[in-house]
Amino acid sequence: MLAYVLRRLLIGVVLAVLVTFITYLLLSGSFRDMVSTLLGPDVTAADITRRTHALGYDRPVVVQYVDWLGHAVRGDLGTSLFTSSAVAPTVLSHIVVTMSIVFPALLIAVILSVTLGVWAASRSGAPDRIAQSISLVGHVIPALLTAIVLVVVFAVELKIFPATGFVQFIDSPVGWLRSVTLPVVVLVIAGMASITAQVRGSMIEELSKDYVRTLRTAGLPARSIVLKHALRNAGSPALTVISLEFISLFSHSVIIENVFALPGFGSFAFSSAQNIDVPVIMGVTLVSVVLVTVINLIADVANGYLNPKARLH
């Protein structure tokens, strides 16, 4: 198990190096653009050359990359060229914000979807129609629309929740809760659609399997058959969807973050890419790779727990 995790992490490290290197290569064409943005509106080509040199962006790309990698290995991701703040802690602080909305949203979405999906699969009729309608609404109504309606109703008009901004949990737990509620609701609605459909589908399939009938012939109560046996077996495909949903929520949070003016990872990554803030882009890329690797690993380990056949030795 440990060996497996280590091997996967090693693959993650190799991927991280490859991805960051390719990103650096792609970025290398834009170093002068970055410097010109940095220097403000009325620059001359000579200014740009001077500053590019001062920052070391005129060295061979490979040298620069190895330099970056050397620092990154020691945990030093450099400082942002635009805010002059250290990249590593800044990236982390933005991840905290996005996690604060994505994680609760996913948790709630999973709980609701699984409940709904199981309910729909084991009792057709009204529950099934409710589950399918929720999927439909989630698919058809863009999150942006939900977001703006919620803001206008609950923040601007009723003033129950703040319209924008993020409060650190340690500063004020209540403030934190109020600041994440609306974005979480938006993401829950968006995330529930596919998870509910998936859980419903795999539960229906699972409940039609032979072992379910055999469990019934053993006189076991329906609750145990559905919730203990079928749900666990349906969990494996659902887990894949959940992990993909997590990555997707995380990476698409930029729009929601913009609407709620949350200083999250998505909008941070987006603005750094727009400015071509090279140290930040590299940090963001690295963190994304790590995140994807870790989430996939967690999903696979969890899958191994749920599904003994998938367990690796």
């Binding site: 084991s122 589908g201 399997k209 072992y211 046996h229 994304s288 995140l291 599904n307």
Partner: protein, 597 residues
């Protein structure tokens, strides 16, 4: 932003083989029809936008700025630059359609080809494709697209090309997994034996076989591409001279307090477009996974669906000593079919006495298994008992509630299935499954249940009970799994055991052992057994009496020896004649030679 832009649908439920009824299935699915019609209308609107748009989508008139909805000439009003919203909306459908086509075809081209190659060839090829797609998957998509802007010049078509590459890992994984499955299909081996080249096999056999899920995936890819294109345009990544939902939503969003409808139109259009694609994809998936009969409320108990309840049902509910263990009278079971209900069991009558072993024999499709399921009350949800009665020690089962049936199952009547592997829950250890059963029916402590289970495992002659106790079903052999199921079935000393082809999936030597075990247990507990089988050898080995079924009817019953010696019905005779060991070899010492079924 990383991995794919939109989560890939799970492919686990997609069956590999597209069936002919896909088209018919789609036509009958209201969701498929509705979404398909909407999609066709939207595609057409996009296609014909140059013809039907009242204005050039970029024509800006200073006099049309923020015109309200319903202004003549500007049906949906003008936007903040004085462009006609309706025209821009129509052109946006075109942009969305083109985006969907480019994004999906690039993802498909790359994902399908790599998936075919990666899945079909050996592990060396596969591990390199794996690496490649892991790499693509790990790329933070949004950043990549922005960084590549100098190359794509913001043209949404180039952007969609890149996006297609970024989306390809999802398709790759689906295709690869399918190909890994298809590769094991014997017709691929047959093609190889015929000398077909790899390319031909891939193109003709493998690709053809996996096309269903690919088509389904296409719908999702298109939805993802449109959503991604809109998202990028909304964020301002890319050119602004091509109208798109994202751009319209962006300007509408910034103008939301001045004229909210400018925001609502593109939002709803986009939602309907992508939503329909996803929903249509879901319908396609349902269609490809075969004609799933409309789900009905799962059968709760064993309910009779005809109004005419036979008198016997009403009267014979009192338990009497002289009642047989099991008495089936005129039992009818039907399934809903495409042309109305189809009766698969047509008035079967059968009795099993206390401690008696009865063989229910017939070929596939004769209705023997459904008869057995009816006794257990575990018929498929859509199955209906149309007539007759099933009495267990005099107690009428037809009409009994699920909870009443549940109290009988495992205690009075028990079941051994045909396929040992698929009848054990793959996710729990053998021990925990058996313990749960024992605890539930015997109401004992965990520790006591554990001991009971270990004793049972020893009783069914499992060599190392503690090891099997700890094992998961896939870690033990088929014969062992069947012993486990038998242990579970006899755990509570049921008075009737329903064994549905209990040895068919096993090797002959194992079969002989299992039959010995069943015989010993039957004697020890004095159980009655209803043995469903197609194997006359098995019947000869263990059954006291035999009932032969054909086409949902019992054609002959009798004491085993008599039926074998002098079959009365022609069908029985035919079956016995087909047995290959007739005409024993010369010098036949029957006990040492001759083998047969």
């Amino acid at each position: 932003m990383s991995t794919t832009l939109i989560p890939e649908p799970d492919d686990a439920q997609i069956s590999v083989v597209p069936r002919r009824s896909v088209w018919r299935h789609l036509r009958r699915d209201p969701q498929a029809v509705a979404t398909a019609i909407i999609l066709i209308v939207l595609f057409l609107a996009g296609l014909l936008s140059p013809l039907i748009s009242p204005h050039d989508p970029n024509a800006a008139s200073l006099d049309a700025i923020n015109l309200p909805t319903g202004t003549p000439g500007y049906l949906l009003g003008g936007d903040e630059s004085g462009r006609d919203i309706l025209s821009r909306l129509l052109y946006s459908f075109q942009t969305a359609t083109v985006s969907a086509l480019i994004g999906a075809s690039v993802a498909l081209a790359i994902g399908v080809i790599a998936g075919l190659v990666g899945g079909y060839f050996g592990t060396a090829v596969r591990s390199s494709t794996e690496w490649l797609f892991n790499l693509i998957m790990t790329f933070p998509g949004l950043i990549t697209l922005i960084v590549l802007l100098p190359l794509t010049h913001g043209d949404y078509r180039w952007t969609m090309l890149v996006l297609g590459v970024l989306m390809s890992p999802g398709t790759y994984r689906i295709v690869r997994n399918l190909v890994l499955g298809v590769k094991k299909e014997l017709y691929i081996d047959a093609a190889k034996v015929s000398g077909l080249g790899d390319v031909r096999i891939l193109a003709r056999h493998v690709l053809f076989a996996v096309r269903g899920p690919i088509i389904v995936n296409t719908a999702f890819l298109m939805g993802s591409a449109i959503a991604a294109q809109s998202g990028l345009a909304f964020l301002g990544v890319g050119a602004k001279d091509v109208p798109s939902f994202g751009l319209m939503i962006y300007s509408g969003f910034n103008n939301i307090y001045a004229s909210p409808l400018q925001f609502v139109w593109p939002c709803i259009s986009l939602g309907i477009f992508t939503g329909c694609l996803v929903l249509f994809g879901n319908s396609l998936r349902d269609a490809f996974s075969g004609p799933r009969i409309k789900r009905q409320k799962p059968a709760q108990g064993l309910r009779l669906v005809t109004s005419a309840i036979p008198t016997s049902v009403v009267t014979a509910t009192v338990e009497r000593d002289d009642e047989p263990m099991l008495a089936i009278e005129d039992l009818g079971i039907s399934f809903p079919g495409t042309t109305g209900a189809r009766e698969v069991v047509k008035g079967v009558s059968l009795t099993v006495d206390q401690g008696e072993v009865v063989g229910l024999v017939g070929e596939s499709g004769s209705g023997k298994t459904q008869t057995a399921f009816a006794v257990l009350g575990v018929l498929a949800p859509e199955a209906r008992v149309t007539r007759g009665s099933v009495r267990l020690e005099g107690r009428e089962l037809v009409g009994l509630s699920e909870s009443a049936l549940r109290s009988l199952r495992g205690r009075v009547v028990s079941y051994i299935p045909q396929e040992p592997m698929s009848n054990l829950d793959p996710s729990f250890t053998v021990g925990s499954q058996l313990t749960e059963r024992v605890r539930h029916t015997l109401r004992v402590s965990r520790r006591a249940a554990r001991q009971t289970v270990l004793d049972l495992l020893a009783r069914v002659e499992i060599p190392d009970p503690p090891r099997v106790f700890r094992s998961y079903p896939h870690q033990i052999s088929g014969g062992m799994a069947q012993r486990v199921l038998i242990a579970g079935a006899v755990a509570c000393r049921p008075r009737l055991l329903i064994a549905d082809e209990p040895t068919t999936a096993l090797d002959v030597t194992v079969q002989a052992e299992i039959l010995d075990l069943l015989r010993d247990l039957q004697k020890e507990f004095g159980m009655a057994i209803l043995l469903v089988t197609h194997n006359f050898g098995v019947v000869a080995d263990i059954c006291d009496r035999i009932a032969v079924m054909r086409g949902g009817e019992i054609v002959e019953t009798g004491v085993t020896r008599e039926v074998f010696r002098a079959p009365r019905h022609a069908y029985t005779r035919g079956l016995l004649d087909a047995i290959l060991d007739e005409g024993a070899p010369a010098g036949g010492d029957a006990s040492t030679v001759g083998a047969g079924r």
